[in-house]
């Protein structure tokens, strides 16, 4: 029954799509299903080899990234004191847009698939790390008591209780990670590989080959979704009752005083510099491309260099900020509207959860075709990238309004609108802020990728340029600056979150 219905849906979509394509024949931004099919059939060998290449890299990166996430999560559980440093460093690395680390990895690794695999790993480790830490912690105190009764320590508790208990959470993370790994591998290919779907996509876009762009976007998105579905199937088999978790960064302890926080940030900064300089020296990396902190400092002390960089950043932020705000507002807004019609919300939820997982970047070329290479196109890419995760998180948040409160309101016969305003929207705020934090790196990734692919402005282009002219000082400066912007924006969102949630909480007390 549902199968026939979804089949009918697919057929209808294809027919409508074909009809639109027939209305505008030879359009530069639209290809119908028949055009796409023709292209795929005509180039099946090429496409197949590219798909195998990209999928292979994604899978290897997926395994590495999750392995690292697993190791870090276990470390945090076994040595709780390490949590602060591990989380901060993990977040910092996560904040570096993949498109920025791509060129650097390219010069470090040279030709081959090293960068693609590393980027795939970088794209997945953070979400897995977060959900795994939540899962490893989500055990009842009775079980830790049981272990204590027998004099067993953290390691036994981890091995006997926590690991098994965290499985559902692990799979929530892994499922999101599967398409993300694909995205990472594609971005790695954008930044200078020889083979793979990313390379073909770049070529198709530069050559304005509309049919090829559409075919590649479809194939990439389908493969990424296939990964999502496969992990989902395993998840269903192993842990049928998956928990709802907001994959978001753990909120820092608020009991730290301001000086303590400053000292903490300084310590992390010092550690980063030490690791940066130390690892380059330890591996004896060529200073021609492996720039040390001192090199960057010197480079940026020339006002001309600094100006170039800041101008590019200004151009990038002019796209990123509107896109970021639009994505958040649309996601939260639609969630609220849907909440007024619960049946519609219930119907849309699964679709939204699935679309959240589509690596939007794989379809970015289509958005560029549709909205152009200017402001609208770029903002659209950023907004779409953020829209689905926000929608899903906010719907989940709205649903988590305690049922007693809903019942209480309904027993007084208040309108649905009033209920929404006074009970459900406040309950949604934590989810909204959680996605606002996670959306910061996503927005920077989207905007720089769009610039790299299409627009010809901003830091993304600066990086593409410097990577091809071997201006490694500028390349590293871009990476450092993007990372600082991401961390700064992240901290700003966290600050707003604290203030807003505090006001909301005190309202609750009154």
């Amino acid at each position: 029954m549902t199968v026939t219905r979804s089949l009918l849906g697919v057929v209808a979509t294809i027919l409508v799509w074909e009809a639109i394509a027939r209305i505008q024949p030879n359009s530069v931004f639209f290809s119908g299903p028949s055009d796409v099919a023709n292209y795929i059939i005509g180039h099946s060998g090429l496409l197949f080899r590219a798909a195998v290449e990209t999928t292979g890299n994604a899978v290897i990166g997926f395994l590495w990234g999750n392995f690292v996430a697993f190791a870090l999560a276990c470390l945090v559980i076994l040595i709780p004191r390490s949590e602060w440093v591990v989380s901060a460093l993990a977040l910092l690395v996560f904040c570096i847009p993949l498109i920025a680390s791509g060129p650097i990895l390219r010069v470090l690794f040279g030709p081959g698939s090293g960068p693609q695999i590393t980027l795939a790993a970088l794209a997945v480790y953070y979400t897995t790390f977060l959900s795994l830490v939540v899962g490893l912690r989500a055990i009842s105190q009775n079980w830790t008591d049981l272990m204590t009764i027998y004099g067993r320590g953290r390691l036994s508790t981890l091995l006997i209780v926590r690991l098994r208990a965290s499985l559902p959470y692990l799979f929530v993370g892994l499922q999101i990670a599967a398409p993300a790994a694909f995205l990472g591998a594609m971005i790695g290919e954008f930044t200078g590989a020889e083979k793979g779907l990313g390379v073909l996509t770049l070529r198709a876009m530069r050559g304005l080959q509309t049919d090829a762009t559409w075919a590649l976007a479809l194939i990439s998105a389908s493969l990424a979704m296939l990964g999502y579905a496969c992990v989902g199937l395993i998840k269903e088999k192993l842990t049928p009752h998956a928990p709802t978790i907001l994959v978001s960064t753990p909120r820092g302890r608020s009991d730290h005083s301001f000086p303590a926080q400053v000292i903490g940030v300084a310590a992390i900064a010092a550690l980063v510099f030490f690791l940066w300089q130390g690892s380059m020296d330890a591996f004896n990396l060529n200073p021609f491309f492996a720039k040390r902190p001192g090199d960057i400092w010197q480079f940026l002390s020339h006002p001309a260099n600094m100006n170039t960089l800041l101008n590019a950043l200004g151009a990038t932020l002019a796209y990123a900020i509107p896109g970021y705000l639009a994505g958040l507002a649309l996601g939260a807004g639609l969630a609220v509207v849907l909440m007024l019609w619960p049946p519609v919300a219930r119907a849309i939820m699964p679709t939204a959860i699935t679309l959240r997982a589509v690596p939007i970047i794989t379809t970015a070329p289509l958005l560029v075709l549709a909205f152009g290479r200017g402001f609208t196109g770029t903002v659209a890419i950023v907004a779409v990238m953020i829209f689905f995760p926000t929608l899903v998180a906010c719907l989940q948040g709205l649903r988590q309004t305690p049922t007693q409160i809903v019942d209480l309101f309904e027993s007084y016969g208040v309108t649905r609108f009033k209920l929404l305003r006074s009970a459900q929207i406040p309950a949604m705020l934590p989810a909204l802020f959680a996605s606002a934090r996670m959306a910061v790196p996503a927005a920077l990734l989207a905007v720089t990728t769009a610039e790299w692919l299409a627009t010809g402005r901003g830091i993304g282009v600066l990086m593409a340029l410097t990577a091809s002219t071997s201006d490694y000082n500028m390349l590293w400066s871009c990476v450092v600056l993007l990372c600082l912007v991401a961390v700064g924006a992240f901290a700003m969102v966290a600050w707003c979150e604290k203030r807003v949630l505090r006001i909301y909480a005190s309202e609750q007390l009154a």
């Binding site: 009764i149 004099g151 006997i160």
Partner: protein, 248 residues
């Protein structure tokens, strides 16, 4: 290993602003069973948790023989059946029970005998979700017995068990820990159960817990359910009840 006393000296414990236990001092004799009864919320579980090394007392001293609770725990010498059975949901009944021996680093012999003893025959390969609350509690009791501990702490172990089964367990289980000379502390709400199962009943005051009365149960020989009808049993039961009423 010979049986050892559990001694508590001026033990105190408070949570935030609630005093849970105040100046608790007694010796639980080696190889004997002592029941703790008292109004709910008076601090019985807190006392057991401190003896088990789960919570540290704010003041005072607890020793199991010459050792601290943590030392005994590390060598697998004690076990506890919690109010909440806290079985691992992904393990079968058999492997949940065997876990007690596994954690205490002891051979897991006799799991099937214990399963029979607690009346879970035929459920060895079921998972906790397929059992009733009482059955889960029985599995948890079996888990606490499998490691043959020197110190056994039972916190309302039969709370969710139905009346008939409870009667049977009251009769079948105590010989096990008596034979092993286990120093046992039993927290229970049932005065009858306290008198039937133990050698001594301690009645506690409402929170913070202090000892109100300390009653020796000098019934010799095998205690069967029939014993509950004897005049001596009834007299002891009334004594405990009177002390409890005084407490309330």
């Amino acid at each position: 290993m010979t049986a050892a006393d559990i001694s508590c000296e001026n033990v105190r414990k408070s949570f935030d602003r609630t005093d849970a236990v105040a100046e608790f001092s007694t010796v639980f004799q080696a190889g004997r069973t002592t029941a703790l009864v008292g109004p709910s919320g008076c601090g019985k579980s807190t006392i057991l948790r401190m003896i088990a090394g789960l919570d540290a007392p704010d003041a005072g001293l607890i020793r199991l023989g010459p050792e601290t609770p943590k030392q005994v725990a590390r060598r697998g010498g004690l076990s506890m059946a919690f109010q909440d059975p806290s079985l691992l949901p992904w393990r079968t009944v058999r492997s949940n029970i065997a876990l007690g021996a596994e954690l205490a680093r002891k051979p897991a012999g006799g799991v099937d005998d214990l399963i029979h003893l607690v009346g879970l025959d035929g459920f060895a390969d079921h998972r906790p979700a397929e059992l009733s609350g009482g059955m889960r509690q029985r599995a948890a009791i079996a888990r606490s017995l499998i490691s043959e501990p020197e110190f056994l702490l039972l916190d309302e172990p039969f709370g969710a068990v139905d009346a008939i089964t409870r009667r049977r367990l009251n009769q079948d289980l105590p010989p096990l820990w008596r034979r092993r000379k286990t120093t046992t502390i039993l927290v229970t709400h049932s005065v009858e159960e306290a008198v039937l199962l133990s050698d001594r009943v301690i009645v506690l005051s409402p929170r913070p817990a202090r000892i109100l009365s300390d009653i020796q149960i000098d019934i010799e020989g095998l205690r069967t359910a029939a014993e509950t009808n004897s005049a001596k049993f009834q007299a002891l039961k009334s004594k405990v009840l009177a002390a409890l009423e005084e407490a309330a």
